[in-house]
Symmetry: C2
Subunit: 238 residues, 2 copies
């Protein structure tokens, strides 16, 4: 006996992708406008297919809605509140696109960290638009996506505190001290004392100063730095 | 419009619980024997109900199968390989207990760390037996439960390396240096150099020596220690 396989959508499980990037001094997240009357903002997400695993589903769905490929997506966690799809606007939208709009859907959230400048997302499938939006200035998202985003942000903040390597993944190859502080302020959503922060950066000894400064800025040009990859290790006490 | 609610089982999503404990010098996991011909060992797990969220489902399922309540369960991740339920013995068992045995089931794994000595699990529902088994001496488990267990173990090992507080949750209130080393050896599944390990423990400065030694042992009685809770903090570089 084998289970029946098909390319059909599984109406009970979906994936949603939280794609973070740091750009223009702000923490950004990639959102779509779902087509339809309300044009609500949502994370790129959709039902899984019956013949694919969850990781495959996340990559496919992200590609279908935004055109982005080869993004390293990690599973965040599952979200399964029985009422997660019950706002009226969400029900209307589901009725217009789903074959079993009343099915309870558990979603598996994925997240990724990317450099927005290098990517060129464009909307397709049911996305009428795809765009980067500053995380700290967002309206409510569709479904329970504000909850998912906030948990992803919490996870990102906890990771960045423990693993400075993440900052390296989010910043350009060379950056100023102002930029790295701004990154931490955005992700942790709090102001950081400049003097203290620079002292800690120095103690951590992860940065290499470059013989190069900003050009064409109105303020005093700041020095550029690079991460010292050799010094960046995630180490426990053992 | 509201979604239809009921107490019925949702045949598409399950929860599985990985309950770890350290006892008799070994890392143990709580397993059930599922009733039926093959009596395969499995993690305590079952379908969610349509009216409960995932955390609630995990607590209920653990209670129904093992009688254990008030265990702090944390979500590990979702497992959704399309072939995760396709071993012949698993299909036979599913056919004997499930109303929709062919449905693809995504499972959300939960894990907890407990002190086995304080718990008194007893089997019910479809569990014919419930018992602690040493993690490093297990046979293959039912379904994809060996995969789930191995990911949970990986997670536990990574956490224990970063957060010594976990060792505190796994050990008795007072313990010997031999016991804490054995705990690390079991979780990391490798031998640890005794001298090195003790040096690191000392550097980390988390232990308070007690004026108390083992009694009635055949070897030289070892001193007991306690964790210094004030010193145990999970800190990043910032």
């Amino acid at each position: 006996m084998t289970l029946q396989k098909s390319n059909s959508l599984n109406p009970h499980v979906s994936v949603d992708c939280v794609i973070f990037g740091f750009d223009k001094g702000q923490l950004q997240v990639l959102l779509i406008k779902r087509g339809g009357k309300d044009e609500a903002l949502a994370l790129p997400g959709d039902l899984i297919r019956d013949d694919e695993n969850l990781d495959e589903a996340a990559s496919r769905v992200l590609y279908e809605l935004t055109g982005l490929r080869n993004i390293f997506l990690e599973q965040l966690r599952a979200f399964g509140d029985p009422e997660r799809l019950e706002a009226n606007s969400d029900i209307q939208w589901l009725n217009s696109v789903r074959e079993e709009p009343q099915a309870r859907v558990i979603t598996i959230a994925y997240y990724a960290i990317v450099k927005p400048g290098k990517l060129h997302p464009k909307p397709s499938s049911f996305a009428s638009e795809v765009k980067w939006m500053p995380v700290l200035e967002l309206p409510m998202l569709a479904f329970d996506h504000s909850v998912i985003l906030s948990q992803a942000l919490h996870h990102l903040a906890a990771s960045l505190k423990k693993e400075p390597l993440l900052a390296f993944e989010m910043l350009p190859r060379k950056f100023t001290l102002r930029q790295i502080q701004k990154l931490y302020e955005e992700v942790l959503n709090k102001n950081i004392d400049k003097r203290n922060f620079r002292k800690k950066l120095q103690t951590a000894g992860m940065l290499i100063p470059l013989d190069e400064k900003e050009v064409g800025v109105s303020h005093k040009p700041a020095r550029f730095y690079q991460f010292d990859k050799k010094k960046i290790k995630t180490k426990g006490w053992l």
